[in-house]
Amino acid sequence: MDAGRSDDPIEDADVTELVTGALAGDERCWEEIVRRHARLVTARIRQFRLDAHQAEDVAQTVWLNLLEHLGELRDPAALPGWISTATRRECLRVARLDHRDLAVDPQSDGLESAVEQDMGARLLLVELVQAVRDGLAELPARQRDLLVLLVADPPLSYVEISRRLDIPVGSIGPTRARGLARLRTTEAMASYLRERPGTHAGEKGVRDAVAFG
């Protein structure tokens, strides 16, 4: 991933060093542990489509429990699995508190593997979506604003978008197409594809690439 060592000793520290530092109260060590693993929590929360308030509760609960357990961590390689499983369990609890019908059957092995295979893909999706976000930042403001307004929630009418951006309604479609085409060629998207060779359209490796978890 990284081409070389950075100038920041925290970024180069191994997990054991970070854990020791975090437990001694060094907030930068904790922030680095979080930076390396937050996508696992984010992917789970998005898998369960929790609202912002639920997401906050789940994330804080997971991080608090991780801090309680950090001192017992013997195998740093086990950390991602621990975080992912802990977040999933907490997401399930919160979703059930909210009376959500998840159609989840804990007896079913098939379900477990379906959920976990889905999770593998979702982790890749989190990275892809981050690349899209970085790519959007590379676009000219007008194209970026249009693409973002077109996916606003709740949706905006073309007339409203035309008014806000001061462009004719008739040019919204073509501008969108040009914006999306340009987004595909941004450095962020190119970099995403370089780092994940199995995800090129038409390549066969993507199913294998997502089959972890």
């Binding site: 984010t42 991080w63 429990n65 309680e68 059930r96 159609a103 959920v115 077109l150 997502v210």
Partner: protein
């Protein structure tokens, strides 16, 4: 397929490649980018708050020279209930939880409408502390058989601690 994902069976793995050729898929990823950024911010903010809470509690513990034994969650009616509806926030049914230490001691609690009722196991007198995600605490004395009750709107991360004489134990954090 009997199972569907929480977001209605969206085929995520398909989207990992189709965005390169399909404008509708890429536009959906743009929508995801806006939503994911806010989730990621929430996750980061929660981590900072968790660290502050943990440090404050750890410092207090060190000052009091208290070692905490961690209790395992051995049952949660929300988990037992599988995907079926268990009403714990509208008063229809309480949520019940049981925590145990390796030596068999522990506590049972029931949550209903902002009220926590519970008992130490085995039954005996002690002090129970409810710790909230912001580090705030509420402490109550149990009766002679370990029964306790705490009123208040306990939502978000909560941890229970109890002390009986020389030993102090704590549950894991759970979202209430």
């Amino acid at each position: 397929m009997p199972w569907r994902s929480a977001d209605g069976g969206r085929d995520v793995s398909d989207e990992l490649t189709r965005w390169q050729v399909d404008d509708e898929v890429l536009a959906r990823l743009v929508a995801d980018a806006m939503a994911q950024a806010s989730t990621a911010e929430v996750v980061d903010r929660a981590a900072a708050r968790a660290f502050a809470t943990h440090r404050a509690l750890a410092t207090a513990r060190e000052e009091l020279d208290v070692d905490l034994a961690l209790l395992e969650l051995v049952s949660d009616s929300l988990e037992l209930a599988g995907g079926t509806v268990v009403r714990s926030r509208d008063g229809a049914e309480p949520r019940s939880l049981e925590f145990r230490a390796p030596d068999g001691t522990g506590l049972e609690v029931e949550l209903r409408d902002g009220v926590v009722e519970g008992q130490l196991l085995p039954p005996r007198a002690g002090r129970v502390t409810v710790v909230r995600g912001d580090g705030g605490t509420t402490e109550v004395q149990t009766d002679d058989v370990g029964y306790f009750r705490v009123d208040g709107d306990l939502r978000g991360p909560v941890q229970l601690r109890f002390a009986d004489g020389d030993a102090t134990s704590s549950t894991q954090w759970l979202t209430w």
